[in-house]
């Protein structure tokens, strides 16, 4: 059994309450104080057209800036800071759109497993619908991210329809594409776990890419791993944490750190360095 570092001990205490942590963050994103601070980007996937949105969506901002041929220093800078510190911990613990999918995943039905390589579509989404299509064709292109985003459909279009209907105002119906996307999304969250995050999320692509560089880091103690495969069972997103940690597909829910031998731990790149040095010293006399 490996000695657990302080961060890992803290993670193990929080893990049973992960859904509650995600839900608590709704108090940040859903604008309970009606402050609507849309001059600031949030680090999560939450549509700024939503009547309940405290901050601006970074992906929407990047796409709109790209369409206007401007460089979004604030949005990119903020994402580099957050991703460089935490990586995709945001996906696993903070994002409201992830919470919605995690809640759907609680419904006890058999789920379809999807191959890991399908996660590379997220980079295609990021480059295509967020950067290149807006840059070359503007915001009116049918594949502009905000036009095909299920978060926009669920968090903005649906609430605005309900709001207009209850107030007796004329309803502005979303187009057929948007309605289809909402329907497909609502079906797929019951077919497989976190389909948007694992297959298409452009923000998840950025955070996932930074997993290998971020200060927060997953550490695998090779010599303590018994190859029991428990971490693979714990990873509901189909990862193989015992083979490779800090991959871009990992959503860092940190469930795998509950494995029996404790070979997988939440750590930081600075802490990993501290623990590796004494091990080398111990091994050297045997060599």
């Amino acid at each position: 059994m490996v000695n657990k570092n302080k961060l890992q001990q803290f993670v193990l205490k929080l893990l049973p309450h992960r859904l509650w942590v995600q839900a608590a963050f709704l108090l940040v994103w859903l604008d309970p104080l009606a402050m609507r601070m849309h001059t600031i980007c949030s680090p999560v996937f939450h549509c700024y057209a939503c009547p309940l949105a405290t901050f601006a969506c970074p992906i929407g901002v990047i796409a709109q800036f790209s369409a206007l041929h401007m460089f979004p220093f604030i949005a990119i800078g903020m994402l580099i800071i957050v991703a460089g510190t935490l990586g995709s911990v945001i996906c696993g613990w903070v994002c409201p759109f992830g919470l919605l999918q995690d809640l759907a995943a609680k419904v006890p039905i058999r789920r379809l497993k999807i191959p890991r390589w399908i996660g590379y579509f997220r980079y295609i989404m990021l480059l295509g619908t967020v950067i290149l299509i807006p840059y070359f064709f503007g915001e009116h292109h049918v594949l502009f991210i905000c036009k095909i985003c299920p978060a926009g459909g669920l968090e903005a279009a649906v609430p605005n329809i309900v709001s207009a209907a209850t107030q007796g105002n004329p309803i502005q119906w979303p187009n057929v594409i948007k309605i289809s996307i909402i329907a497909v999304f609502l079906i797929t969250i019951f077919i497989t776990i976190r389909p948007w995050c694992r297959i298409l999320c452009p923000l998840g692509a950025i955070f996932g890419f930074f997993n290998r560089f971020s200060v927060f880091s997953m550490k695998l103690e090779d010599h303590s791993c018994t190859q029991c495969g428990r971490c693979r069972t714990l990873c509901t997103y189909g990862g193989q944490p015992d083979k490779k940690t800090n991959t871009d597909n990992c959503l860092r829910c940190l469930e795998c750190t509950q494995c029996g031998p404790g070979a997988l731990q939440a750590s930081t790149i600075f802490e990993a360095d501290k623990t590796e040095e004494p091990e080398k010293e111990e091994k050297s006399p045997q060599e």
Binding site: H38, A56, M70, P72, I74, G77, M78, I80, G84, I269
Partner: protein, 77 residues
């Protein structure tokens, strides 16, 4: 320090520099809908404008507001 730590520190420095530059120094001229006068507009304000579909770039390369008076409530997309 190992390579990972140096990479992380460089990235965080880069991110912080971009963020601070965007917030404190980056301004762009935005013209009103009537094309009369351009105002130097901070990037944070531009973020708010794009979030409601309030900006467009004209063929001559200048940025213009899409509305006069009260801003739209939400993004049209």
């Amino acid at each position: 320090m190992n390579k990972k730590q140096i990479t992380a520190i460089v990235l965080l420095g880069l991110g912080l520099s971009m963020f601070l530059y965007g917030y404190s120094l980056h301004v762009l001229p935005v013209y009103s809908e009537n094309n009369d006068q351009g105002f130097a507009t901070a990037e944070s304000v531009l973020i708010k404008e794009v979030s409601i579909g309030g900006l467009e770039r004209k063929p001559d390369g200048t940025l213009h507001k899409t509305y006069t008076g009260a801003p739209p409530k939400a993004c049209p997309t």
